[in-house]
């Protein structure tokens, strides 16, 4: 079992300190790697370089603590939660803690990326050690001042107290502390002594958000900045032949119309690559304008001719191809235990079902945008991207510039969901700025985002199980997906280790439609397929769904297989908690329940959905979730993440459809494409399993179980199993809905 993170964390050399010229103590520290011996600490606060350090803490002469928080904020709450961990061990006064988003100028940075719900998990040790070390330095300085033993001093809310009751604030001793040696072997707090961790802390950007201050990439401005709107091929598989910009140039405010594409092709031909580089090789037409409206209008006024360069694909075709993959035998084995063939041959009963998901766009509320200034050797990039380090590397390669000369400024992001892991809009902005030799901000419209996206790929799962003497004896999962397959750890999630004969196989079809990570990649749909299947399997076996899972989980508890990712015990505790809190099996008449449980991103989650029928139609009223994410850093933030994840899972499973015809997306904006809205929102009640285990992430794990819980509740209400998303379309097809 791999529930503990094995880091190369060394307390000896993970941080350095310096006295600031302007007063105060500055601490630079690293998350996973040691500080390089030659790494130099700055003495000027305006010159923080993130080349050698992941993050900095400044303690001012007045005792104010400023944390230059390194991880990008996409709404998952790390900009609040990570500083809370430092402040806890520092014994800082939380009301005197400020948090500033650190810019990026890095070559050795281990992790400045938002994705995979891993920020808190990776940061936990280093953040605590940093806070504790800083506190010890302040205590040591006070001990010298008072000429007493440091061990006799106590700290609380930024104040050091000695045995006689005399007090010094952190600000009083910060000058002296800055000159001391960095102490080693500092002691960390016991969890029972926490005063900040485990208490609700309001989002640190709340005031700016509610008063409409500039905060997001789209709000970013510099003087003389141009706005660019990009016309890309309308269909995947097409390329630009020619265009007519005459009418566009007549639009007031339009400065120029250019094409880009050379830099993309050069990058591809150079043999270099980056997984964040998902770019069409076609030329694109770019309208350069003084303001956003002119850029949008100018683009509408363009006329362009496109040619079909590779096959233009349709959803209908994908459907046939994926089915063919599942029907065939050319799949790759990803995990195999025992002998499924013989177990199926001996089975009393075999259950086999196939599940289908459509492509999905991310639809971050803030459309893709980025600022680039590529006029000289020094390149300035700014905006919302989940992978600033990769963006810096690609732009360096694109323009043959040293990374040291690229400055990436991160803004708050209006949602990420995986879309901003891919830097296509950064690379386009850089190419445009380079072409016009002016600072420029690329602004996408909703239509651009939805029709030229990096989509969650369509996937089909076929699951088959054997039952013998009342036990599940074999489990066979096949995945057929567009462009790629489940990442390496997933075959070792539940029910691996629970069923003696077990096999996971995958295969994919390479499409020219760009695809990528989407909140909880693969598991966002796999969890629904698997837990719908287990509900049906339990029904076939005459068993209760959660009871069947609890029974199976006993088999994995003493496993010696260190590939198994989840914990049988933690999954069991989570299921038991949701059964208790969600009153499983004890509903009033007319309320139908559905159950689901799933482990992903190191967190165990179980959910119960409740629906009622109104005029024969299912209405989701409530979801109860139980979550084991270890120690809760910020309960209000944690609940917010789970609530949002559950509703995101339900919304996309119920309503969101997407399809292609002749390479063109058939949905373009929110008039036709459905996201969950207020009146469709059930109540969500979140309960956490209490333990003292290291915290794990929450940005994603609440989502995967939600679709299955709803599908199973709908089955209990209507007697109809749902094998395809969105459910609304399935219900319409079967005339359950009008």
């Amino acid at each position: 079992m791999k529930s503990q993170l094995n880091t190369n964390f060394s307390r000896r050399n993970f941080l350095k300190t310096s006295a600031l010229a302007s007063g105060g103590l500055l601490i630079g520290f690293n998350f996973l790697t040691a500080c390089k011996p030659e790494a130099k600490m700055p003495v000027d606060i305006n010159n923080l370089n993130f080349n050698d350090f992941n993050a900095f803490i400044k303690i001012s002469d007045e005792g104010y603590v400023t944390i230059f928080s390194p991880n990008p904020e996409i709404g998952q709450g790390v900009k609040t939660a990570m500083p809370m961990i430092i402040a806890e061990e520092l014994d800082a006064d939380w009301s005197k803690v400020n948090v500033t988003q650190g810019a990026l100028d890095t070559k050795n940075f281990s992790r400045q990326l938002a994705g995979g719900s891993q920020s808190i998990r990776f940061g936990w040790d280093a953040l605590r050690q940093t806070g504790a070390t800083a506190k010890q330095m302040l205590i040591n300085a006070a001990a010298i001042k008072w000429n007493v033993d440091a061990a006799s001093l106590k700290t609380s809310k930024g104040v050091i107290t000695n045995a006689k009751g005399a007090q010094l604030t952190y600000g009083d001793v910060v000058k002296e502390a800055a000159l001391l040696e960095v102490p080693e072997n500092v002691k960390l707090k016991e969890t029972k002594d926490y005063t900040i961790i485990g208490k609700d802390a309001i989002n640190v950007d709340i005031h700016k958000i509610i008063t409409g201050k500039p905060l997001f990439g789209l709000d970013y401005k510099t003087e003389n900045m141009m706005i660019a709107s990009v016309l890309r091929p309308p269909a995947f598989g097409q390329k630009l032949v020619s265009f007519d910009a005459e009418k566009a140039k007549q639009v007031t405010g339009v400065i120029d119309v250019i094409t880009i594409g050379d830099k993309v092709r050069e990058f591809n031909n150079s043999g270099k690559n980056s997984w964040t580089f998902q770019m069409s090789e076609s030329d694109k037409v770019v309208v350069i304008a003084k303001n956003t409206w002119a850029a949008i209008k100018g683009k509408k006024a363009l006329s362009a001719k496109w040619k079909t360069d590779s096959e233009v694909e349709s959803t209908e075709k994908h459907d046939k191809i994926l089915t063919k993959i599942l029907d065939g035998n050319k799949l790759n084995t990803r995990r195999e235990d025992g002998n499924i063939k013989s177990a199926f041959a001996k089975a009393d009963k075999i259950v086999e079902k196939t599940y289908h998901s459509p492509f999905l766009p991310h639809n971050c509320m803030e459309p893709m945008n980025f600022y680039a200034d590529v006029r000289s050797e020094k390149i300035h990039l700014a905006g919302p991207v989940q992978t600033p380090e990769a963006a810096e590397g690609v732009v360096a390669d694109m323009f043959g510039v040293d990374k040291e000369n690229i400055h990436v400024e991160m803004t708050r992001m209006g949602g990420g969901f995986g879309r901003r892991l891919y830097g296509d809009f950064v690379y386009e902005a850089a190419e445009i700025s380079n072409a016009i030799k002016k600072p420029v901000k690329l602004v996408s419209t909703r239509e651009d985002d939805m029709t030229t996206g990096v989509y969650r790929p369509a996937i089909k799962y076929r699951i088959k199980a054997a039952v013998k003497d009342g036990k599940v004896t074999a489990y066979h999962l096949k995945e057929a997906a567009i462009n790629g397959n489940m990442y390496g750890l997933i075959p070792n999630f539940f029910p691996a280790g629970c069923i003696p004969n077990y096999k996971v196989e995958t295969a994919n079809y390479k499409s020219n439609i760009t695809t990528g990570a989407w909140r909880a990649p693969y598991t966002n749909f796999l969890a629904y397929a698997e837990q719908s299947f287990f509900s049906e399997l339990a029904q076939e076996m005459g068993k209760d769904h959660p009871e069947l899972l609890l029974e199976l989980l006993q088999n994995v508890k003493n496993t010696t297989d260190n590939k198994i990712q989840y914990s049988g015990q933690r999954m069991e505790d989570t299921i038991k908690l949701v059964k208790e809190k969600g009153n499983w099996g004890k509903t009033e008449e007319g309320v139908y329940q559905g159950f689901s449980a799933y482990y992903s991103h190191n967190t165990h989650v179980a959910e119960i959905a409740e629906i009622v029928l109104q005029e024969g139609l299912p209405v989701i009223k409530k979801v109860t979730a139980a979550v084991d994410c270890g120690i809760l850093v910020n309960p209000t933030g944690a609940k917010n993440q789970v609530e949002g994840g559950v509703l995101d899972g339900i919304g996309h499973a119920m309503f969101s459809d997407f399809s292609f015809k002749d390479g063109k997306p058939e949905y373009k904006n929110f008039d036709k494409y459905r996201l969950i809205r207020m009146q469709e929102t059930p109540k969500v009640e979140v309960h956490f399993v209490q333990n003292n285990l290291s915290p794990t992430g929450l940005g994603e794990p609440g989502l995967p179980p939600a679709g299955g819980a709803v599908a199973n509740a709908i089955h209990n209400a209507l007697g109809k199993r749902l094998y395809s998303q969105p459910f609304i379309k399935e219900l319409k097809k079967s005339t359950v809905l009008g």
Binding site: G212, M365, F417, M678, Q679
Partner: protein, 153 residues
Amino acid sequence: MPNYKLHINGKQRSVTADEDTPLLWVLRDELNLVGTKFGCGIAQCGACTVHIDGIATRSCQMQVSILEDVKITTIEGLSDDGKHPVQEAWAEIDVPQCGYCQAGQIMTVSAFLSENKNPSSEEIREAMHGNICRCASYNRIEKAVKVAADKLS
């Protein structure tokens, strides 16, 4: 390009813009009031909501040329320094996740509560149905609307 005199957040502002320019882009690009957000451009998401004569309106669909005789309020002008009861409720309940849509949500709620002082859950949900929150902070929005209604009464 024509010049327009607009009444925004209690001040008269003069802007030069094409007559078909949506208020949204006048606010964001010409007047530096970037709290009003661009989400869909077709009045389907509510991120660009402002008040026009006190009525919640999608600024992406309002041409600047027809707005000279009305009073416009944006999130920046809703209160001094975030002191409107709706803004205070938003902070108390810790509503936002990514935060992008919240200015639009707050503007929709503040107009709604001036019409309906004591709304039921159903009325809140109906009033807020037009504002998308991609992070789905809807339950906290409902809670915060109730807190704000209490503060206002």
